[in-house]
């Protein structure tokens, strides 16, 4: 296959991953990596490196937009980032010591978890009027724009969320993804933040966490510019298209479809692993 044909096909695949990631709000990493490994037979390390760059690029663009709208809680984001970057650094530094088979198995596990979390019904948020003590000390409590003005919120279970962020960072470093799912889970279900604050703050954080992993991947040699180039450009275009399509589509159906697709991809990667094709 020529490089130009490879680049065009990877661009299209990445564009689709960007659209899907944008529509389902769960990022493109979990779609890009299996697509590159399964359809293009790219070394999983290179696929993970390309995914990280794509994650940094798309999260930077969306974070910029959300910052202007006032949903992002920068203080919570940076506080939790302490745990996330520490985990990401450790995860990324461990890569050369972990076999590709184990990495693939971990990634398959993450695909199945993402599929489950995507279709799991969200519990309705209880409104809290008091905060975990760290929320007062670090001034993490805040408000966010609603239709009639602003609604206050108070952070809960901060230490547990901090631990989950460390784990999310570790997964990001090990598997080359943004771990947005875990971050949103920690903020939405553990810290009990409003969902829009959780997703926008997660978006704010993903770029920094992925940048730490990318730094280590650069020095390991897992970021190949010719592979990354069509992936990065395709995902950015796809994410923009997805954002424009979102108001016109039924997202619950898409989430179910997404779960099925990534479960099948996970299954295929498992089969390939046990037949030594990765």
């Amino acid at each position: 296959m020529s490089i130009i044909l490879f680049s065009v096909l990877v661009f299209i695949a990445s564009l689709c991953a960007g659209v899907i990631g944008s529509l389902t709000g769960l990022g493109g990493g979990v779609v890009i990596i299996p697509a590159l490994v399964l359809f293009f037979h790219i070394n999983i390390h290179y696929a993970m490196g390309a995914s990280l760059i794509a994650v940094v690029a798309t999260s930077s663009g969306t974070a910029a937009a959300y910052l202007r709208k006032g949903f992002t809680n920068i203080r919570i984001g940076m506080f939790l980032e302490v745990a996330a970057v520490a985990g990401a650094l450790i995860g990324a530094l461990l890569i050369p010591y972990i076999s590709k088979t184990l990495l693939t198995l971990l990634f398959c596990g993450l695909l199945f978890l993402s599929a489950f979390l995507t279709i799991k019904r969200r519990e309705d948020q209880e409104v809290y009027t008091s905060s975990h003590p760290w929320g007062y000390t670090l001034r993490l409590n805040d408000n966010y724009p609603v239709y009639q003005g602003f609604q206050s919120y108070y952070v809960q279970q901060v230490p547990l969320a901090f631990f989950i962020m460390w784990f999310a960072g570790m997964i990001s470093g090990l598997l080359g993804i943004g771990s947005g799912t875990l971050k949103v889970l920690a903020m939405d279900q553990v810290m009990r933040l409003p969902y829009k604050v959780s997703t926008t703050t997660s978006n704010f954080m993903i770029g920094i966490t992925a940048a730490v992993s990318a730094g280590v991947y650069f020095t390991h040699g897992y970021i190949h510019p010719i592979i990354v180039m069509p992936v990065m450009l395709g995902v950015i275009v796809g994410a923009n298209i997805g954002a424009r399509l979102l108001p016109h589509l039924h997202t619950q159906f898409l989430r179910i479809l997404f779960s099925i697709i990534i479960s099948l991809m996970g299954l295929q990667m498992l089969i390939n692993t046990f037949t030594a094709s990765v």
């Binding site: 296959m1 020529s2 680049s7 070394n43 940076m78 302490v82 990401a88 000390t137 730490v212």
Partner: protein, 123 residues
């Protein structure tokens, strides 16, 4: 407690500019590379055992030897540098507002970001 709106705006502009610059560099480098070497086989690039370590001196060398690939690598570094810049901006903001906890927090994150790039040179 919401941060002053101007820091949100500055970070938003920084992220937008950095990402746009990165996209331009990667796109330009990619277009030139595909124009010059697009008909070559991809197989060599997909060899399982090769790695492609990057740092500033390698990029400087690459720009001289193969400008197209060097441009792509510059674009990728620009993207990462944007993340460093936004953490740096927040650090300056918290120093200005004398928010000591968040000075420490941002300093830690910034140091980890920098370390992720230079750890191989240190050890």
């Amino acid at each position: 407690m919401k941060e002053k709106p101007w820091i949100d705006q500055w970070m938003s502009w920084t992220l937008n500019l950095g990402t746009l610059l990165s996209i331009l560099l990667v796109f330009s480098g990619g277009a030139i590379y595909l124009f010059n070497a697009g008909n070559e086989s991809i197989q060599l690039l997909l060899q399982q055992s090769t790695t492609y370590p990057l740092n500033f001196s390698i990029i400087a060398e690459t720009i001289q030897l193969t400008p197209a690939v060097g441009l792509i690598e510059m674009g990728l570094f620009c993207l990462i540098a944007t993340q460093l810049l936004r953490v740096g901006m927040l650090l300056i903001y918290y120093i200005y507002t004398k928010d000591y906890w968040f000075i420490l927090i941002n300093l830690f994150v910034l140091l980890v970001l920098v370390y992720s790039f230079i750890w191989k040179d240190i050890h």
